[in-house]
Structure formats: C-alpha cells, structure tokens
C-alpha cells in the first residue's frame, strides 16, 4: 500500500533541490527527502509511563563541482531553507579537494525496476490502544515467575514514513515503509543478585509481530534464567553464539569486507577476495527483494540497483560490499551497498538450537556481549560476555563477568556449525554459530 500523492509531494521537493543545485552551478547533485511519523508508548508497573508523538523530516543534498563534493542537510523544508542548504553544500564543494573517484554512480548501474516489496503497513493504533498493549505485555512478564522482582516496563512503537531519492541523472524514486515493535524489560532477584533481561519483536506489519504475551514471557524467562549467575575460571573452550549474538559476529565480518574499510586498508581481510575465509559449508548471500522483510530495497542510498548475490560461498569470499565511491577507489564495480546490506542471509545447517547445544557438548553458550572490543584492522576480538555453562549438551548454570577473546580471522575459519534457529529481527539473518574454541577470562 503506497500513498502516491505523498510520494509525489516529496518528489517535487527533491526535484526543486536538484534544479536549485544546477542553478547554483553544480555539475551534478543528488538529494533525499524523508518524512517519518510515529507513536511510542511505554508502561511500567501496570500504568502508562510515557506517550511520545514523533514527527521527523529531513532533507539531505550532495553536490558536485566536477570532482569536488559537498553535502548539507536540514529539517527545515521551507523554500528559503532549501536554497540555503544548497548554498551551504556548494560552498563546501568549492573548498573541498579534487577527488578523482568522487561522483554519481554510472548511469547503467541505477535501478530501473521497482517491484512492490510490501514494506508499508501502517498500524492504526492510538495512544490508548498502545498503552493497553504495553500493559498486557508487561503484565505477562511480571506474572511469569515469582522471581520477577521489578520492571523497566514494556513499550510499543509504531513508525511510518516516506522516503524519496533523486539525482541529476534523472533518477527520482520514492516509497513508503512502516516499522513496528513491541518490547519488554523485567528484573529478577534482589540486591546484589539482581538481573535484567529483555525481549522484543519487530516487523513491517504489526500482525507479524509476536504477541504481547509472548514478548513479556520471553523477557521474564530470560531474566529468571540469569539468577545465580557466576563467573568461570580462565580457560579455553568451545563457544556457541546464540542467534542474536551471532549476527554481531557476521556484522564484524561485514565491516571488514566493506569498501570503506578496504580502501582505507583498515581491515583484517585485505586482499582476501577469492580466498577461503570460512569453512567450505558456509554460504552468505544478500536477498534484497524479499517481500515484507526489514532490510528489503530495490535500490541503495545512491539509486544503484541492489543485487541478490553470494558474498561468501564454499567458504570463499566472492564479493566485497561496495558503494560507487569505494568501488572506484578499489578499481571495482559498486555492489549496490551504499548505505549497507539488504537482508544478509547466512545459510543454515540442519541443526536446531537443541542440536547445536548437543554439538557444543561442553562449553560456553553466549547470550549477551558487552563493549566494543573488536579491532577491525587486526581482527583482535575481546568482549565482555554472559550466558550459560553447558555440559554434555545440557545447560548447567548461568555465567557472567567473563570475557571471550580471539582473533576474527581464526574465529571465522573455526566455525563448526550454523544452526537453523534464525533470528529474523534484523538485517542480518543468521542462526546460532558454534566456534571450535575461544579464550575465556574470569575469576
């Protein structure tokens, strides 16, 4: 469902921006205009806590004077402000250095097909209904177990927006999309043994979200499972990343094969194209045109057509993740990834989560990671962790206040298995990942 009149209203503004850029002397330009409206409500201890009405809009322009580039943005879309914004971008471009790689995409790369990706499902929910749903969700969490001692509340968010992008090559496209979520965070235990955990569900269509009951219960289940957590002694052991954590691992890989890291030589996977970086059973691919998915798009942030393609197959790195600029710097072609990837999918094995635990045997199941301890240049990895100690495939007790460490190059090669328990809540779709061994530091 797309409101063409609203898209056309934004298109007119983007066209004015492009015309104005030309008028002010730019040799090329691109512009985007986005509008987003939303409602967030939260409830805590059975009563409404906040009601927030969101209403955001913004325009962004990039202008080129030959090989010189400047950008500007504003949230004021009055005609005077549009002119001023172009002027600011032009002024920057005049001072910027010549960059032989700068410029709009090659015209033949621009998307020409715009299938309906089923991304727009406005949720007709008002504050009262949102509050009722949040209270239902939190109640389900608080009632789940006697050990639930407190709550940070539950929240319901609903956003719907329109985004139009155009450039001076004649590309001018727009679409509407929606995003709704439900989340709950509760506490178990008291005093020094207090633990908090949360759960959330997110979807383009509110009907596809998990029920308020389920979200509340999962949050509570996770918080209660942490009770009695202790540290581990320092050791080496196999580590199973729960799906929510596995996506971070794939995210680190993604960072290392992204054009920006590569041309800056700030990656532990330099010159790794066409080499084995993971075991031969691993396939990672992009599925940009999945209907209704959170990461779907037919064109990227530059208007370039997205591609359904393999990034890794047979464990071999087949493609980098590139925008026009980074591709030109590397002497390659853009992969339609300006602004990021679209439904990056890691093919799963046969194992469900229980089978993955069994395969882990004795080791650490990681369900939470803390901190930013990843060095993209060297691949060195060291992060705070909590989760569960597992013996013979059965969870023994919760653990906390430990770190896990290794080097991403070895970690990626030492993947033993990938589960089919895929987390679909993000732009990276991956199940749990089992690593042969990592260093655990603890008490």
């Amino acid at each position: 469902m797309q409101n063409q009149a609203e898209i056309n209203r934004l298109k007119d503004v983007v066209q004015q921006l492009l015309d104005e850029a030309k008028h002010q002397g730019a040799s090329a330009a691109e512009a985007a205009f986005s509008v987003d409206n939303g409602l967030s409500v939260s409830a805590r201890l059975g009563e409404v806590e906040t009601v927030e009405y969101h209403c955001d809009q913004g325009i962004g322009v990039t202008v080129y004077f030959g090989q010189k580039k400047g950008s500007a943005s504003t949230n004021d879309v009055s005609p005077d402000s549009l002119k001023e914004t172009i002027k600011a971008a032009c002024s920057i471009a005049r001072y910027a250095s010549e960059d032989e790689y700068a410029g709009l995409p090659d015209p033949e790369r621009l998307a020409t097909e715009f299938p309906d990706l089923d991304l727009n499902h406005p949720w007709n929910i008002d504050a009262e209904q949102g509050i009722a749903l949040a209270i239902e969700c939190e109640n389900a969490g608080r009632a789940y177990d006697k050990a639930i001692s407190n709550s940070e509340g539950a929240s319901v968010n609903s956003h719907q927006g329109t985004r139009v992008f155009g450039n001076s090559l004649g590309f001018l496209q727009g679409y509407q999309s929606s995003r709704h979520s439900l989340s709950c965070s509760v506490l178990a235990g008291n005093g020094g043994g207090m633990h908090r955990d949360y759960w959330y569900s997110v979807a383009r269509n509110a009907a596809n979200m998990e029920s308020a009951q389920l979200v509340g219960q999962k949050a509570a289940q996770r918080a209660v499972a942490r009770l009695g957590a202790r540290s581990l002694s320092t050791r080496q052991c196999p580590v199973l990343f729960a799906p929510e954590m596995a996506s971070g691992l794939i995210g680190a890989l993604l960072g290392a094969i992204s054009g920006g890291s590569l041309y800056r030589k700030a990656s532990f996977l330099l010159d790794a194209l066409d080499t084995q970086i993971m075991p031969d059973f691993v396939r990672i691919h992009e599925q940009p045109l999945l209907k209704g998915a959170l990461g779907s798009a037919s064109y990227d942030a530059e208007g370039v057509a997205t591609q359904a393609r393999d990034i890794v197959n047979d464990g071999i790195l087949r493609s980098y993740v590139l925008s026009t600029y980074s591709a030109r710097k590397l002497g390659l072609q853009t992969t339609g990834n300006a602004g990021g990837v679209h439904n990056l999918t890691v093919e799963t094995g046969e194992n469900d989560f229980a089978a993955m635990l069994k395969q882990l045997g004795t080791g650490l199941l990681v369900t939470e990671l803390m901190g930013q301890g990843i060095n993209r240049v060297t691949g060195d990895y060291s992060r705070g962790a909590s989760g569960f100690w597992v013996e013979n495939g059965a969870i023994q007790y919760p653990v906390q206040e430990i770190t896990i460490a290794g080097n991403l190059k070895t970690m990626l090669r030492n993947i033993v298995a990938i589960g089919n328990d895929v987390d679909l809540r993000g732009n990276i779709r991956v199940g749990s990942i089992l690593l042969e061994q990592m260093a655990i530091a603890g008490e």
């Binding site: 906040t50 927030e52 009405y53 580039k69 001072y95 901190g371 906390q400 080097n407 655990i440 530091a441």
Partner: protein, 480 residues
C-alpha cells in the same frame, strides 16, 4: 544574561515567526490540565564536519536543524510531542495531544523555583565561523603533513574536524525562560601504520566548548597527530594480552571511563527511583575504598561535558557521588528529583528537542590522592598497566561493566615491560572501587572526546581520574 536570552529568543523564536509572548499561549494550554510540570524546549543547531584522508579534504557537510519539544509530567507519567516547525498552531496541537496523558491526574501543581542567574561556562560564539573555510582546510592539511613526517611506516592518516553551535531556550511552567548558547568543537586524528605486513592503528583527539582556535593553541592539533602515531608505534610491538584476574593499574585521564561505566550510570536518578540499579537504596553505604572521592561536575569552564544550565534550565552543579568511599548522592533531573524528594542536580539532559530529558552525567571524575604514580607501578609484582581505552558499557542492574584498552603494558616486578594488545576488562560496579588500594596525585581530565549513549540518546561528556591501582580485575586477553 538578558543579552544572551534576547539573542536566543531572536535566533530561535523570532527567526521562525513565533512571538515570545505566544509561548504563554502554549503553556496556558498545557496548564489547563492538572499536572506537576510542563516545559517547552526550543532548539536551533548548526553543525559542520570536514574530513581528510588520502591527503585530501574530500568531504564536508553542513546541517541546520531546529524544532521544539513540548512535555507535560504528572506523577511519573510523561506526555511528549515535538515538531521541527516552530509555529503557534503546531505547538498548540502538540500541547493538546500531550496533555491527554494527565487526564486522570490528581496531582497539584508543584511550585518550582527557577534560578534567575548562573555562571556562564563558555563564550556564546559560533565556532563554525571562527575560521573561514579555507583556514579549516589548511588546518586539516597541516595536521596531515606534519603527522606523516613523524614515521615512515605511516600508511594512512585520517583527520576530522567538527563543530556544533547549539542555541536552546527552555520555557518552564512558572513562566521563566532559560537560554543557553553552546559551542562545541572536536578534532580527531587516526593513523594506520604497517611494518613487515603487520598493520596497526592509533588515534587521538580532543575538543572543548570553545571555537576552532582551541586546536591552534599550543599546537594541540599537531599534538593529537603525534599521540596517534605514538600509540600506533606501541601497538606494532604489542604481544597477546594476558587472560584472567590480576592487579590493574589505570593511567590518568581518559581511563576515568571506568568511573563513568562502573558507577556513574548506576547513580543516575531514574534507575535509582525505579530500584533497577545495583546502587539503589545504598546512599550512606560504603561502595569504594576510603581513598575514593568521585564527583560529577558540570561547572568546569569550557569542558566538553560542561553546561551552564542543563536541558531543563537548571544550573549545573558539582555533585559529590562518592565521598571517601561512601555513597553520597545521585544525579537528578527534575522529574526524578521530585519523585525522590530531593533537589535536581542539573543533570537533566537530552540529545535534542526531539528527545525526552533524563538524568545524564556531565564531567565525572575522581579527586587526586597522595601516591606518586611511579610508586604505584613499583608496588605491583605482576599485573597490567592500562594507559588508554576505547569505549565501555554497563548493565546497571547486575552492575557488570566493561571497558576496552587501546594501549596497555605488562607490569613485571614493579616495572612496565612489554606492550600488549587491546583487551576488554570486566568487573562489577558496586565492588570494583572497594578494590582501589592506591590513588595517584596526578589527576587529569580527558582531552574532550567522550560521547555517552543511553536509551538511544547521545550527549557529550567528560571523564577523569588520577592513576589508580585496582587489586583484581578480569582482563580479557587471549593468553590463557
């Protein structure tokens, strides 16, 4: 002060066609409901960034944003709406929407005394205009050229320069108006060095609530380049970090991120009112060794984390959090202070008009002790000396926190010996400071680079500390 108020009224209200007296109309709409507090936050910000890499200034961007946020509070309930259009009909509609939350409210209106004056901690100038564009480019190029001269192993130098000029006006329910003009600048240098196929990075930056001249004073910008190179040189020699529990000596300055993560967040008023912090209900109890006194001080002139007034119009304070090891106080915004029956401490901050304020840190640091830093190192038989850190994170409920070293060394027999690779350190907030056995006399504040995230909102902050010895912290290296 009146001059500044007039200037801000002009730049935010009049420039958008809103007459200052029309604020009263919006406030009257809000106050027709039985509520505890209401405010309207007007903001206009200008931001620019310039970046250099590969020896050329290839990118710059500029942005202008303005808008207003309308908030009502009744008990612990908050209604909030914002708009990027500062126009009377839009603000009236927002006011009508948000006051719905207090329909069933019974609270009487609270009389809040709004301070009439405060100390101005920075000059109300626009840093974007403190150099012309050519001078900004020249500064970046000079930093690049001078940094590259320092070591032949340098492969890439990246320099970024950003400035923000923020005008805010807070209208409170008692009819008072508080205004602030907040400049903020930052410059960052990072280098990548290569030797025998090994690749390492180093980075250093700094900033202040000042203008670009800050980076020219004492050649600060060039000093950041030298420091980035020095760190990369050290990292080229680094060996695998040790794993396990050991004595850790933290260097002065930025390692104060320990305080920010381990205890700072846990002492924010909202978590303590709700009882979700590991520090809840512990005022008056011992949470640190008696060598430790920690404050949150928003009143330091020109510092990145400082504010003349917070985002609710409350002047910032120097709040004692821990005094000689005893927990003394929490950081408060108005809502949580009222519900807890204490005074606001000037810690009510928000990322922008489009976000709700909440208790946030300003500059959080530990006061100096008496030990000579060299004596502290000498006292350690085997341990880790962590001189620089990247970021950190905390779970305020369990108290577990992490922060990651970016420059660290082994201490062997009282001497700093070999550099080790970056590793995450993990500990428990409520007891880490009880293990502080020595506090140096070399208190330093960080160079002005901190950004703190909470509930998706980012705000600039500062940290600081003297050299500290902690008897037992888990170091997450690979060398088991």
């Amino acid at each position: 002060m009146p001059l500044l108020l007039d200037q801000v009224k002009q730049s935010i209200l009049v420039a958008n066609g809103l007459q200052p007296q029309e604020i009263d109309q919006v406030m009257d709409t809000l106050l027709s409901a039985p509520l505890d507090a209401a405010d309207i936050y007007f903001q206009s910000s200008h931001f620019e960034s310039w970046s250099l890499e590969g020896g050329i200034v290839k990118e710059g961007s500029h942005s202008i944003e303005h808008g207003a946020g309308v908030r009502v509070v009744s008990g612990d309930k908050t209604g909030f709406a914002y708009s990027d259009r500062i126009e009377l009909p839009i603000l009236l509609e927002a006011a009508n929407n948000v006051k719905a939350i207090v329909r069933q409210g019974q609270q009487a209106r609270h009389k809040i005394e709004t301070p009439k004056s405060w100390t101005r901690l920075y000059q109300p100038f626009n840093p974007l205009k403190s150099l012309d564009d050519q001078e900004k480019i020249d500064l970046l190029k000079r930093v690049d050229a001078e940094t590259r001269k320092l070591d032949s192993r340098i492969e890439e130098v990246m320099v970024s320069l950003v400035a923000a000029y923020d005008n805010v006006l807070v209208a409170n329910q008692d009819g008072s108006l508080a205004a602030d003009i907040r400049p903020l600048v930052r410059l960052n240098v990072s280098v990548i060095m290569v030797e025998n196929g090994r690749r390492e990075q180093g980075s250093m930056g700094g900033g202040a609530r000042s203008d670009y001249s800050y980076f020219l004073e004492n050649d600060r910008a060039l000093e950041y380049g030298r420091e980035a190179v020095r760190q990369a040189q050290v990292n080229l020699q680094a060996e695998d970090a040790p794993a396990g529990n050991m004595t850790v000596v933290l260097g002065p300055g930025w390692p104060g991120i320990l305080l920010h993560e381990a205890i700072g967040h846990g002492l924010e008023g909202d978590f303590n009112r709700k009882g979700t912090s590991a520090f809840s209900g512990r005022i008056g109890e011992r949470v640190a060794s008696d060598l430790c006194t920690v404050v949150d001080d928003g009143t330091l002139p020109g510092r990145r984390g400082s504010l003349s007034i917070d985002d609710e119009g409350t002047p910032t304070e120097n709040t004692v959090l821990i005094e000689n090891g005893i927990l003394r106080g929490y950081m408060q915004d108005k809502l949580n202070a009222r519900l807890m029956g204490v005074k606001p401490t000037g810690n009510g901050r928000r990322e922008s008009y489009a976000h709700l304020p909440m208790p946030r840190m300003t500059n959080t640091y530990m006061l100096p002790g008496i030990s000579d830093p060299e004596e502290i190192i000498r006292s350690v038989k085997k341990g880790l000396y962590a001189r620089n850190f990247g970021g950190g994170q905390v779970d305020i409920t369990s108290g577990k926190f992490v922060f990651s070293t970016s420059e660290a060394y082994l201490i062997e027999d009282g001497k700093i010996t070999r550099p080790v690779k970056g590793a995450t350190l993990i500990g428990n907030g409520p007891d880490v400071l009880t293990k502080v056995s020595m506090v140096g006399n070399d208190m330093q504040l960080d160079s002005g680079v901190g950004t703190c995230g909470k509930d998706g909102q980012s705000v600039p902050v500062g940290v600081g500390q003297p050299t500290l010895k902690i008897d037992g912290l888990t170091v997450g290296g690979t060398n088991v």
